[in-house]
Symmetry: C2
Subunit: 157 residues, 2 copies
C-alpha cells in the first residue's frame, strides 16, 4: 500500500471523528480498508447518542457495514484504522471479525483494551489475534481532550 | 422476583438457544428482564450465520432490542439471563449498557470472559461492573456439547 493511501485512510477516519464531535458524540472515527490496496470499504463515526445504543461505537458500525457490503462475516484481507484505541467490546468484535490488523491514532488509558486493560489480542484465550499498532497522532488525541474539556465546562455553566 | 418468574426467564432463554440450534447456529439464547418484576423485554438467539455478522451474538441482539424498546441506551433496572458465559465482546457490551446483573447457565472455557479469560467485570478499568452469577444448568451445557459434537461428526462424513 502506498503512503498516499495510508494518509487518505487516516484523513477519512479523522474527518469521521470530527463529524462525531460536531454531533456531540465522543469523537471517534473508524475506517475498514483492503489490507493490500488500501481501498476503503467502510467508514463510520461513533453514534451512541444519536442511535441511543451503547453498541454503536465507530468500530462496531464499521464492521457491520463492511460485512454487509462484502456479504460475509469474516473480514480477513481487511484492516481497520481507528482514531482511538478500541475498548474491550470493540477489541473482541475485531477479533471475531478476523481483521488482519488494527491501527489506532491515540491511546485510551481509561477504556483501551489493546495495550492496556484486558489486552485482548495478547490473551491465550483469543482465537484470532490481529496485528495492532499505535500511530500516534496529535490531532486524534487533541480532539478527545477538546471534547471532554468542553463537556466539563458545559456542566459548570 | 418470584421463583416462577425466574423459571420462565430461564425457559425462554433455553427455548431461544434451541431455536438457534435448529437454525444451525451456535445455540445461545439471551433474555433481558426487569430486575424487580421479572418482566421480559427482550429475548434473542445467536444469529451470526443467518445475518452473516459476527456481532450478532444473542447478548448483543438482546441489548439492541431492549434499548430500542425502552428508547434509551442505558439499561439500569434490567438484568440479563444468557445460556452461556458471555465472551469478551458481549461482557464489554453488558458493562456499557449498565445492566444490573448477568446470570448464565453454563461456563465457557474457550471464550468466556466473566470468571475466566479477561474477567471483564473484575477489572479496575471497567467503569460499570454488573453482578454476575453462574446458574449451572445441565441443559445449557448439554446443548453446546451436542451442537459441537454434531458439527465434528458432519465434517467426518
Amino acid at each position: 500500500m502506498e503512503n498516499i493511501e495510508r494518509e487518505k485512510i487516516k484523513k477519512q477516519a479523522f474527518d469521521s471523528a470530527l463529524k462525531a464531535f460536531r454531533a456531540d458524540e465522543v469523537p471517534v472515527g473508524a475506517v475498514i480498508f483492503d489490507s493490500k490496496t488500501g481501498e476503503i470499504i467502510a467508514c463510520n463515526h461513533n453514534q451512541t447518542e444519536q442511535k441511543k445504543d451503547v453498541l454503536a461505537h465507530a468500530e462496531m458500525l464499521a464492521i457491520h457495514s463492511a460485512s454487509k457490503k462484502l456479504g460475509r462475516k469474516f473480514l480477513d484481507g481487511y484492516s481497520m484504522y481507528v482514531t482511538l484505541e478500541p475498548c474491550v467490546m470493540c477489541a473482541g468484535a475485531i477479533s471475531w471479525a478476523r481483521l488482519d490488523a488494527v491501527y489506532y491514532g491515540a491511546s485510551d488509558h481509561k477504556t483501551g483494551a489493546i495495550r492496556q486493560g484486558a489486552k485482548v489480542f495478547t490473551r491465550s484465550q483469543t482465537h484470532h489475534k490481529p496485528k495492532s499498532r499505535l500511530f500516534s497522532s496529535q490531532e486524534c488525541s487533541k480532539i478527545m481532550t477538546q471534547f471532554f474539556r468542553a463537556k466539563r465546562l458545559s456542566k459548570k455553566v
